[in-house]
């Protein structure tokens, strides 16, 4: 399956290589560099590259290319999913998945990769198991290790490896037994010019941090499970119970994990928490343009909208912006042509407004495309879909755990994806990132 792995940074340096079968020369990466050149942006590098003798399957995460070398048929998603798992494992072990962290912990990285794959086939990918095999580095432990010569490597087979619940390690003990659940939701929506919803959907995840001793068996139930349309679970969740009773029954892994991801029924109306009135015009004469944007809260269920950031991708001809913001600060980067307006909290009484003029490259024709507008925001203590956790029950273990549920509506992890192309007259809100167009002057050419 996976033959070799090369880690390559943005500058094109191969800073780590690992082979699971016979050694493949790193010159194979030249094909990758070629593809990278052709693609321009890192995002555009094709995940699967064909070379005369090998196939390169790669992912791009945290400014690192994970390039794996494949020789025979394998499901591409298998490799991609695995590489992401590797990246997540680094994140988990070192707190960040960066070139520096990997270089600093190169031996642990190597030991990890050795355990994760055997002959190119995944062996142990559960973080609970790996952590028993190879202890994550801590300052204290490395001090002790240098003095005593003891090692980071476990001597026994992790019990999880053999048990029927590989995701949980055995013998967990905590003095404070706690279980926290974060319900995090993201909105994807299209609004028309008047602000009515054309298309909206809510995606959510429940992230858990469970620190409970022993082998607790948890049951999490919702007030309104009918809201959930499509779900995917951590392997610990008993699917049958969900099917029959709509409760989440599981023996949790130890520590942080994503319990479930869900999609909320499209039929349910999505409350859009803010509205935006924007007016961006370019003038044919005088090489200038005008901007006027106002943001205000809409349906926020009485909660405050925080961390509001408006991002606008300006056309290439815009040289500079001379604006005044009634609240927050704005920056315009003339290289990337991105205007960022960081508003902060939304104030009900005094709506934030950004107004002013743009100067364009003289002589250049008026930009044809209108800039897209993105909004990023966060609402604490609110799951926008209205999903509510009803109760959490624990079986088997006798102690009383401390339980907590937090609701957040915020921009998701794929933020960069959410800045949108827009429909004229339509306002699209994705992940609480909005974008819009002013009305086109031309009547649409088609239809």
């Amino acid at each position: 399956m996976i033959h070799s792995l090369f880690l390559i940074n943005n500058a094109g340096d191969i800073f780590l290589e690992k082979h699971w079968k016979s050694v493949i020369s790193r010159s194979v990466c030249d094909y990758f560099f070629e593809a990278q050149d052709k693609a321009g942006e890192p995002d555009n590098v094709s995940p699967v590259i064909r070379t005369p003798h090998h196939y390169l399957i790669n992912i791009y995460r945290e400014k690192i290319f994970f390039v794996s070398v494949i020789q025979t048929e394998v499901p591409p998603l298998f490799v991609i999913e695995f590489l992401h798992r590797v990246a997540e494992m680094f994140q988990d072990y070192f707190g960040e998945c960066s070139e520096v962290a990997i270089k600093d912990n190169v031996v642990i990285v190597y030991e990890l990769l050795e355990e994760m794959l055997d002959n190119g086939f995944p062996l142990a990918t559960e973080s609970n198991i790996l952590k028993e095999l190879i202890k994550p580095p801590t300052i204290l432990r490395s001090m002790v290790n240098t003095i005593t010569g003891s090692s980071n490597v476990g001597e026994t087979l992790p019990t999880g490896q053999l048990s029927t619940i590989p995701w949980r390690r055995a013998g967990v003990k905590y003095t404070n037994n706690e279980a926290y659940f974060d319900v995090v939701e993201e909105i994807d929506a299209i609004l028309d010019k008047s602000g009515t919803t054309v298309f909206a959907e809510i995606q959510g995840v429940i992230d858990a941090c469970v620190k409970l001793s022993g082998m607790p068996d948890l049951t999490l139930s919702f007030m309104n499970p009918r809201l959930l349309d499509d779900v995917s679970f951590h392997p610990c969740v008993r699917f049958k119970r969900w099917e029959s009773e709509r409760v989440l029954s599981f023996i949790p892994p130890d520590g942080n994990f994503r319990l479930m991801s869900y999609h909320v029924n499209a039929q349910n109306l999505v409350a859009i928490p803010v509205y935006v009135r924007q007016n961006i015009n370019f003038f044919e004469t005088g090489s200038s343009g005008r901007v006027d944007i106002t943001v205000g809260p809409k349906q926020t269920m009485g909660k405050t909208v925080e961390n509001v950031i408006v991002t606008i991708h300006m056309p290439k001809v815009v040289l500079s912006a001379n604006l005044t913001a009634t609240q927050g600060t704005y920056t315009y980067d003339p290289v990337t042509k991105i205007l960022v307006w960081d508003i902060g909290k939304l104030n009900q009484q005094k709506l934030p407004n950004l107004k002013g003029s743009l100067s364009l490259q003289s002589g250049a024709p008026k930009p044809e495309e209108n800039p897209s507008l993105n909004i990023d925001l966060k609402i604490q203590q609110l799951a926008i879909s209205g999903l509510k956790v009803n109760r959490l029950d624990m079986y088997v273990e006798k102690y009383k755990p401390f339980k907590g549920v937090k609701y957040v509506t915020k921009a998701g992890k794929f933020q960069k994806n959410w800045e949108l192309a827009c429909h004229e007259g339509l306002l699209r809100l994705t992940d609480l990132v909005w974008s819009s167009f002013t009305l086109m002057k031309n009547i649409p050419f088609l239809f």
Binding site: F15, L16, E17, K21, D43, N44, S46, P47, V48, R50, I59, Q71, T72, E73, P75, P76, L77, I80, E81, F82, D104, V106, V107, I108, V109, Y110, E111, D118, N119, S142, M143, T146, T148, S151, E155, T156, L157, T159, L162, S163, T164, A170, D230, V231, S232, P235, F239, K240, S249, F250, H263, H313, E369, D393, V396, N417, A421, H423, L446, F447
Partner: protein
């Protein structure tokens, strides 16, 4: 700390503070230190007897390897440490060894003996890692040693070691393909392994070594299907992909007969095909006849194993692992009946929210799927809308999907969406959008004009690329209907002045030439302009200029003769030989000279022939001959090692190859399977396997139990089932007097084996004594029954029943044979004995594992089960094992759940229809209710309150239960008069603290009691019913095809009586079976006749005054008989 210094190794790590004694060499710290010196230093560290120094040295060496630096000259120094006590040093040495052994084969051999020793180590982790490293050393000379080690490890006690053995197989195979035959033997052996841990790895080995040996899978097919949900994610992917291929060779195409399909796969599965066909229209008949004539193909019936695969993979669509979801999706796409494929769409759309690489692969596959099954993704159209920040490759794929999804109804939405894309700043994407519009226009005639107009407007776009792309697309569209669009051609002719993109210019010129009769005035003028600029044009444009000239010469030679000659002359001296060739060729063809050949007559025909319009089709067309989700599919080319997805067979190979001839207990390894069995046979013991307190001690889980439960289960588990089956057949035989003798013999046997299944229908008649015995036996089996209640409530679909039934039945046959041969194996063991034995076994196992701190204390692990899905059984299991219960309901009687353990806050309530007469009121149906208190405190005053009943219904409550101690169970009987309806009886179940709303809904078969009639009486009653006031209304007849396993009279009788509480009526004809009963409430007669015809055909007749009851009964019996 250590690692940071490891990165300094080039400067000489010895200068780091930790080991001053090695820092004395001044050169080692300097930039001039030679490799030799530096490595010398490391060698010294490796030779020291301090582990910390060795570790430090190894870490630096590994860091070197990681960065691709050569450290091979250290080999002798490193290999010495292979036997080091420190586990981390050892591991790093292994890393080094695996990396360099190939280069230094001789030296590598030095380490072999260490691994051979390691293979015998009592610690399973050491055994496994020794095998892992040994098999990773690519040194041909040790192939025999590896082979031996693999063979040994394949029968290791520890499943982890066996898993490692499975991993080692492909390694050895790639080292020495000669070993294939021997390796296949090992694979065959490991395929039979029952642990989830091994399953994924061995299938992986199978795929790499002998994917063509599909026959090895037969015996393991069902096991793999059932284990699947518990296998780790990566193994799931491999198994699912393999099973897809397997299914393609073994089963019939479920989409052969479309009309059947529309009735849903379920029905097809029941095999009542004849019946279905009868209901269908003549169309179907014709089709059938045709099919029969062609291939003598039977109407499609889905193989139960095929269904099993589909059913067991479906929950995995909810996996968090994209690869698993994709694997299931492709399985459904390739194997499922059309009506069922839809379920995968939602899951695939979900994957679109994942990383962009995942999106990329998923979209490629969705694009292929949308061509075949457009409807599947139509509801998710909006999910494929493009975001400006999507990488271009994603955008283009989404565009592809949108184009494939376009149809008459959604085209306007899609075009509106496209319209916005055209304004994107990403020019490649805009070009692709224009192409997409062109494709929509070709595919959907209604919008062709709109699209064309839109594209024409794009011609005035400021961006040249947009214009150029539009020209190319317009050219293609115009070719379809050129007559109406001469103005567009005129418009485009004007563009030649401005547009510079060669492809676009060439397209315009071709258009003008092709349709010069539509633009007779402009065309020569264009040629004139082109002739001027000819020398500066691109090659592709030049060729089209020549073409244009030739065509004009043929149609309008008067105006263009000179121009053409001029152009041809220019071309004659062009640098490009293609153009020179073309010019020469055309000149010969069109300019009539003496020398010109016969062809010139046909010049007009040649040049002005009607050209077929290009078909704009998706690049994803026909890609589905590659297995979806595969690398080959993605690349649209066969990758090395790709296994072709075979076509469906014309006729299904023998399905019996999948029947497993192994002792019953092996079935227990999979919970899922066991559960399915239990639905049918509640008394399947479950006491070991996961619930046994022993196996958790060493956490060896399944395999451990595999070996140890062997003896045990045959004691309680399998034996009970066996006897049960026998007693089932016994029931039938009871009717047959001539078989009386055999029956007695059997009965004896059954009696001996303690757990005994009470008769179902006949239980009423059986003597009290026997009943008592049954109950006693039932006690032992309590655990089974108990745990099973859970699944019952989860209402396993009836398919699964049928399936397990079939399976078990085939097993029974084998069983029976075995039984008669082997006199009396271990079945007499009592529960206690077997338990003891397990413990001993586990102790043995414990030796195997070093006394690790295996902190999962026994009950905990027994509590945890491997299957998420069926975990719950485990939950109740533990409780009930501890708390033996009193009464077991008769076995053929199904248990229903009244109150779940969770909702009941620890109080679990189940009920069954005991089929006993309810003595206080003969018009009531007896319902036996069992309370189990799973809490730690006692439950008090259990009683019924506030029945909410349909009019006429009555309830006779059971006497209040004063106290139910913790962990105990109690059985009570209540009576319900359902008024001969299947309406549910709702009431509240109260404890001293809580009230629960519950309801009991009876199957129609339970609403009657047997009536004992003679043959004549039966006939008479039937007559009366037939010719009563409502002639014909009291009889319902259905034709049916008996299920494969259901063609003997015994089985028919058994099925009917288990479906409905009827008694058999003696009958003269052996083709007919008759049954009679009375409804409990009103005492109306119910008469059932099953008449068998030739082959599997049969006629079911039900006579009953109560039409509703009759209809429902027909349905139930039909279902029972067609399975």
């Amino acid at each position: 700390m250590s690692t940071s210094s490891a990165f300094n190794d080039e400067k000489g790590g010895s200068s780091s503070a930790g080991e001053p004694e090695y820092g004395h060499d001044p050169a080692s710290g300097g930039i001039f230190s030679s490799d030799y010196k530096r490595h010398d230093d490391l060698k010294e560290m490796l030779d020291s007897n301090k582990d910390s120094l060795k570790l430090e040295a190894m870490k630096r060496i590994v860091a070197m390897i990681a960065r691709g630096k050569n450290a091979s000259d250290l080999f002798p120094a490193v290999v010495k440490n292979v036997a080091c006590k420190n586990i981390e040093v050892k591991k790093l040495v292994y890393v080094y060894l695996v990396r360099y052994a190939e280069e230094q084969q001789d030296l590598a051999l030095l380490s072999i003996s260490t691994f051979q020793r390691g293979l015998k180590d009592p610690n399973q982790l050491i055994r496994a890692s020794a095998l892992r490293v040994l098999s990773s050393i690519r040194v041909t000379i040790i192939v025999p040693i590896m082979m031996l080690a693999i063979k040994e490890a394949a029968s290791d006690m520890s499943p982890y070691v066996r898993k490692t053995a499975a991993h080692a197989i492909p390694k050895l195979y790639s080292l020495d393909p000669e070993q294939k035959d021997q390796l296949i033997e090992v694979i065959e052996k490991l395929l039979a392994d029952k642990t989830t841990l091994v399953a994924g790895s061995v299938v992986m080995a199978f795929e790499e070594v002998c994917p063509e040996r599909i026959d090895l899978i037969h015996k393991n097919y069902r096991k793999l299907c059932n284990l699947l949900i518990d296998v780790e994610e990566w193994g799931q992917v491999v198994i699912i992909n393999m099973l897809t291929r397997y299914a393609r060779t073994q089963f019939l195409n479920p989409n052969i007969n479309e009309s059947l399909l529309e009735e849903g796969g379920e029905k097809a599965f029941y095999g009542s095909d004849d019946d279905d066909d009868d209901d269908d229209d003549d169309d179907d008949e014709e089709k059938k006849a045709e099919a029969a004539a062609l291939a003598k193909r039977k109407p499609y019936v889905m193989d139960p194993d095929h269904r099993l695969l589909l059913r067991n993979t479906k929950p995995l669509l909810q996996s968090r692992n994209a690869a698993v979801v994709m694997a299931v999706a492709q399985l459904y796409f390739h194997l499922a009946p059309k009506a069922e494929v839809g379920v995968i769409a939602k899951a695939l759309v979900r994957l679109m929210r994942s990383h962009s690489e995942v999106q990329y692969v998923v979209l490629q596959n969705v694009a292929t799927m949308t061509i075949k099954r457009r409807g599947m993704f139509e509801p998710y159209l909006k999910s494929f809308y493009i975001r400006s920040t999507d990488p271009t490759q994603i955008k283009i794929l989404k565009l592809e999907v949108l184009t494939n999804l376009a149809n008459e109804t959604n085209i306007s939405t899609i075009l509106r969406e496209f319209q916005t894309y055209i304004k994107s700043m990403d020019k490649d994407f805009v070009a692709a959008t224009i192409q997409a519009i062109g494709r929509c226009a070709t595919n959907i005639g209604e919008v062709r004009d709109t699209c064309l107009n839109g594209l024409v407007q794009l011609l005035s776009n400021r961006d040249e690329l947009v214009v150029a792309e539009s020209v190319v697309v317009i050219k293609k569209l115009l070719q379809m209907q050129p007559e109406q669009h001469s103005d567009i051609i005129k418009h485009m002719a004007k563009l030649t002045d401005n547009i510079q993109v060669p492809m676009a210019r060439a397209s315009i010129l071709w258009l003008i030439g092709e349709y010069c009769e539509h633009v007779p005035k402009i065309a020569p003028d264009v040629l004139r302009k082109m002739a001027k600029t000819f020398t500066n044009e691109e090659d592709i444009v030049k060729l089209q200029i020549i073409n244009l000239a030739a065509k004009l010469y043929l149609t309008n030679s008067k105006q263009t003769k000179l121009l053409t000659q001029y152009v041809l002359n220019l071309a004659k001296y062009d640098q490009n030989y293609d153009i020179r060739d073309r010019a020469r060729f055309i000149r010969q063809l069109i300019v009539p000279t003496d020398k010109s050949g016969a062809l010139s007559k046909y010049a007009k025909k040649l040049f002005l022939a009607l050209k077929p319009a290009p078909v704009l089709e998706s690049p994803f067309k026909d890609r589905d001959h590659f297995q979806l989700g595969s690398l080959s599919h993605l690349l649209n080319a066969k990758a090395g090692g790709y296994q072709e997805l075979p076509d469906w067979p014309e006729s299904a190979p023998d399905p019996s190859v999948r029947n497993v001839e192994v002792p019953e207990w092996t079935k227990c390894t999979s919970r899922k399977e066991r559960k399915e069995k239990k639905v049918e046979k509640p008394f399947y013991s479950d006491s070991e396997g996961e619930s046994g307190p022993t196996e958790s001690a060493d956490s060896e889980s399944d395999s451990g139990s595999g070996s140890q439960s062997g003896s045990e289960e045959s004691g309680s588990g399998s034996e009970s089932e066996e006897s049960e089956e026998e007693s089932e057949s016994e029931e039938e035989e009871e009717e047959e007097e001539d078989e009386e003798e055999e029956r007695a013999k059997k009965k004896k046997k059954v009696d001996k084996s303690k757990p005994k299944k009470p008769e179902s229908a006949e239980s009423d008649q059986s003597s009290g004594e026997e009943q008592k015995r049954i109950r006693k036996g039932g006690k032992d089996r309590r655990s089974g029954t108990e745990s099973e209640s859970e699944d019952e409530s989860e209402s396993e679909s009836s398919e699964s029943e049928s399936e397990s039934e079939e399976e078990s039945e085939s097993d029974t046959d084998i069983k029976k044979k075995k039984k008669t041969a082997a006199s009396k194996p271990p079945p007499k063991q009592t529960k206690k004995e077997s338990k003891k034995e397990t413990k001993e076994m586990s102790l043995l196992d414990l030796d195997d594992f070093e006394p690790t701190p295996s902190p999962q204390v026994t009950p905990v692990n027994s509590f945890l089960s491997n299957s998420l899905v069926t975990d719950l059984e485990g939950l109740s299991l533990t409780d009930t094992v501890l708390a033996p219960t009193t009464i077991a309901p008769s076995s053929s009687v199904r248990l229903y759940e009244l109150l779940h353990r969770i909702t009941g806050e620890g109080l679990a309530v189940e009920y069954c229809f005991s089929r006993q007469p309810f003595s206080p009121d003969p018009h009531m149906v007896a319902v036996q209710i069992q309370f189990t208190n799973n809490t730690t405190s006692e439950a008090k005053s259990l009683h019924i309150e506030e029945p909410k009943l349909q009019s006429g219904m009555r309830i006779k409550e059971f006497p209040e239960i004063e106290v139910l101690p913790a962990g105990e169970s109690v059985n009570v009987v209540m009576g319900i008069d359902f008024c001969d309806s299947t309406q549910a009886a709702n009431f509240q179940l109260c404890t001293h603290i809580r009230k629960f709303f519950v309801s009991i809904q009876p199957p129609v078969g339970e609403l009657m009691t047997p009536a004992f009639l003679t043959e004549n009486e039966f006939k008479k009653e039937q007559e009366t019913l037939l010719h009563g006031q409502l002639m014909g209304m009291n009889e319902i007849s259905e034709k049916l095809t008996l299920g494969e396993k259901c063609q003997s009279e015994h089985v028919i009788v058994e099925r009917v009586t288990s479906t409905a509480n009827l008694s058999r009526v003696p009958c003269g004809s052996d083709k007919e079976s008759r049954f009679a009963g009375k409804t409990v409430s009103s005492g109306s007669l119910v008469l059932v006749t099953v008449t068998r015809k030739d082959g599997a055909g049969a006629l079911l007749t039900v006579n009953c005054e109560k039409m509703v009851i009759g209809t429902m009964l027909v349905k139930d019996i039909l279902q029972a008989l067609t399975q």
